[in-house]
Symmetry: C2
Subunit: 253 residues, 2 copies
């Protein structure tokens, strides 16, 4: 799919040694991708970097200057390896200060137990605004075109609900899936490509599967014009049938 | 953890619109991370890019010049959106040609049904060598310090078995986990940081959890010297206990 004129673009920056060691299976990228898609925003790139200051700063600066929005996940807790806020401040060339609203929340929550580690979580780069955390713990924040969210998936998803209303949306992408069973991609490729070439504004992809019950491919059609998407689904089914392919079904998702 | 002198480094490049649309949950990064870790290689960065030629070329060139190895996944099938081989050739400034071994395999498999789409999968950049595919379909390939693997997880994992023997290994990282239940990171942070500072050659990370049964954090200690890792586990448990933290258990993984 050609990037539409005026498309709104985004990147995700995943921060954390635990992802790069394979200890933790990331799911935040998929959740953010779906959330942005529902808001009509193109997720164009994702990077995963370790808990290393210079790496976070460099990746964030590369992404924030290239895309309309960047969403980061991870590294905003109270422990010594949580260095995202400092790195974001450095990327923007500003200082960090304890945010009075977070400090008030934390004082109410912790009282005498508000130690130095917990206070670290009150630090926000100058010029930043808070992102609501409806789940647990202190809020995230946003500065410039960057949104800084937690890494714990359920907290990340909660914070994400406060991101959408601040985004300028694009035209929502509509996706339809045509499932072919019992034929491989080698048979599907020619009719799929012919239909794809006739619709340059759309994206047609083939995602093969191999399961205990058989094999085949899910052909996913994505575009911003719902009428064109619908017409293309019919054209593709006709082209597959004309190529002698059977067991074609239209599925949800 | 400071990057050890002479550490062997790697990056992963995930290629595919389906990851960036949120349609597919990537699991290849985790599997490759664990595989590299078992070979003593530091996975330092991962990028996910769309099925766009210029994006793949730019990301691959950025990563292959910076790290000892790059492993790519996705985009090597027969359909029009499978453009990884062409992009890898472009990144290395070489041509692609049909590899005689792959062509022989495919001719044996397909006979008269060896169409143009399937033949695309026989194309390998000049100078490339094959990576065995024990699962299904044509092999992957390697050129320079780059390994080009399939995106389908079970095929990717199969190909990965032929990557390890070609890598120069580092010292394997040993990981141990101390689990704290019923205490938050705010209480854990100070003793954890003190122990981390005493062991700069190691990585100590805190990964909080919130479950139906309660909350707490898994503290993961990683290092290349098994004796130091073991000693640090004991130091950390003692430091946590001295800070008044209860419900500390040593867990596998």
């Amino acid at each position: 799919m050609d990037r539409a004129e005026g498309a709104v673009t985004a990147a995700v920056l995943i921060i954390g040694d635990e992802i790069l060691s394979g200890r933790t299976q990331d799911t935040n990228l998929r959740d953010i991708a779906r959330y942005l898609g529902a808001h009509g925003i193109d997720l164009c790139e994702a990077r995963t970097v370790p808990d290393v200051h210079e790496e976070i700063v460099a990746a964030l600066n590369a992404l924030r200057t290239r895309y309309d929005y960047v969403i980061t996940t991870g590294g905003i807790g109270p422990t010594h390896d949580d260095i995202t806020a400092d790195a974001v401040a450095a990327a923007f060339g500003v200082e960090l200060h304890e945010h009075p609203d977070i400090l008030a929340m934390m004082t109410a929550r912790w009282g005498d137990e508000l130690n130095a580690a917990r206070r670290r979580m009150a630090r926000v780069p100058d010029g930043g605004e808070l992102v609501n955390n409806p789940v647990q713990g202190p809020p995230g924040f946003t500065i410039g075109n960057v949104f800084v969210l937690a890494g714990v998936p359920q907290i990340m998803r909660g914070m994400l609900q406060d991101v959408g209303p601040r985004l300028k949306g694009g035209a929502v992408v509509v996706a339809r899936t045509v499932r072919v069973e019992g034929s491989g991609e080698g048979a599907i490729a020619a009719p799929l490509e012919a239909v794809a070439k006739a619709h340059p504004a759309m994206s047609l992809g083939s995602y093969p599967f191999y399961e205990a019950g058989g094999y085949g491919s899910n052909l996913v059609l994505r575009g911003r014009d719902p009428d064109e998407v619908e017409a293309t689904v019919h054209e593709l089914i006709a082209a597959l049938q004309a190529a002698g392919i059977a067991n074609i079904t239209r599925v949800e998702g």
